[in-house]
Symmetry: none
Subunit: 264 residues, 2 copies
């Protein structure tokens, strides 16, 4: 199943949002990460709102299809797993998990269409009430600077949706993004590398930079440097070309001319 | 060391940002995650700006201490590791890592005060140019919906800073041993790297390997190769020494003799 479809079953529920611009920012963050279902519970400003459309930067389809509810209970009625965001532990301590633990927890659920998952975000100024958090199976806390802990709501949605996307891209091959996915040239093999190092050493002797009778660690250090970069075949050809030109330049002018004539 | 201090060495660099509100949103996201150093390269609107203050929701200290530079090179001159955000692979593919891989990669560096790390974010409408990306050791891509892939810049900063915070929370002072922990020589900073690339280009022209009027992708490919290896200061000195000897060898015999005589 493509990654985006795995996230179809997740809805983002915003409770009592004050600023329409934030609703737009949430829609944009959701759509960037491949989530589609937006629910609003008792938004405090008029909705729809032009500021929401503006800040959504083109995620207007999510705004148009957003469902608006009077109460959180209604918004959650069909959900099988609910996670609420919580800034701090409350008077009744509840296990807090971080967004990564949430994503791990949801990973199995996401692949099963019978699950309907909600992530609930509270008001800009005071989050979710205790009663609202008590409707949630899981309480999620985003690690943050204790001296400056209030995230913008679209930023909080971004972080949770990012974690969900990271959890599903690992599952579907088409979405994976490993090192060098689209590298255009095969990596050089050992033989090509050794021929390069050999050519490099000869050239360094020729330009009087390297004295094989007093080698110090020169060649070892150069090997370490180039092997760290793991050159591809085109890069090795390029480096060999540079060495050849260095050798030509180092030999006397007549010889270079002869060489070039000979090649043509 | 407390988690927040571990993030002190990381600066966020915004290139050519259009909207002051986004700069404020970035400052808020940074401070929420415990990062403090904001750099602006050629912002396209007036700065400071009241809209930035408004959107920062109290992260005004970051805005007040923000450094403004004319060019990205200046902003990066003291940095030992630079990661640039990239929306897609370019005509010259470069290894892309995701934000989690970045955080893993940086985990060891964060504990060492001699490292100065920069995360670079491009323009709202078109990101970083190829030339700007070629100043970066690492290219980071945030996994996203391929049909709606443009994240708000504050959201992108939020995701990367969140990953860094996740990497340092729970990390004690006697951390794990990461890549390069026991490296014996400090890594070259951006200025030293740029001087090397400059010297390299001049030398390649002198030995007639590089034609600046028909550059193809030569210098880009060489930058990619050397930045992948992340040279240390001794390696850069070694490479510069090779270039100097190449230049001497390429000049005519009399000149070399004169030079050598002069040195003795």
């Amino acid at each position: 199943m493509p990654a985006t479809n795995l996230l179809d079953s997740v809805k983002i529920v915003l409770v009592g949002t004050s600023h329409p611009g934030n609703i737009g920012g949430v829609a944009r963050a959701m759509k960037n990460m491949g989530l589609l279902q937006l629910c609003l519970v008792a938004p405090r400003a008029q909705f729809p709102h032009p500021e929401a459309v503006l800040r959504s930067s083109g995620a207007t389809d999510l705004l148009e299809h957003a469902q608006v509810f009077e109460t959180l209970e209604e918004a959650l009625s069909d959900c099988t797993l609910v996670a609420g965001t919580s800034a701090r532990s409350r008077n009744l301590p509840w296990p807090l998990i971080n967004p990564r633990q949430l994503a791990e927890r949801l990973q199995g659920e996401l692949a099963r269409p019978e699950h309907r998952i909600a992530l609930v975000f509270g008001r800009e100024d005071r989050g979710l009430s205790n009663e609202e958090l008590h409707l949630c199976h899981l309480h999620v806390h985003i690690p943050c600077n204790p001296d400056f802990s209030s995230l913008n709501i679209a930023a909080a949605v971004q972080v949770l949706c990012y974690e969900l996307r990271m959890a599903v891209v690992g599952q579907s091959t088409e979405d994976r993004l490993p090192f060098g996915t689209e590298w255009d040239v095969p990596f050089a093999d050992n033989q090509a590398l050794e021929m390069f190092f050999d050519h490099l050493e000869k050239t360094l002797i020729e330009i009087d930079f390297h004295n094989p009778n007093n080698p110090r660690q020169l060649m070892s250090r150069l090997r370490r440097l180039y092997l760290r970069a793991r050159p591809d075949t085109m890069e090795i050809n390029m480096l060999r070309g540079i060495l050849t030109h260095t050798q030509k330049a180092a030999r006397n002018t007549n010889e270079i001319t002869d060489d070039q004539t000979g090649q043509k």
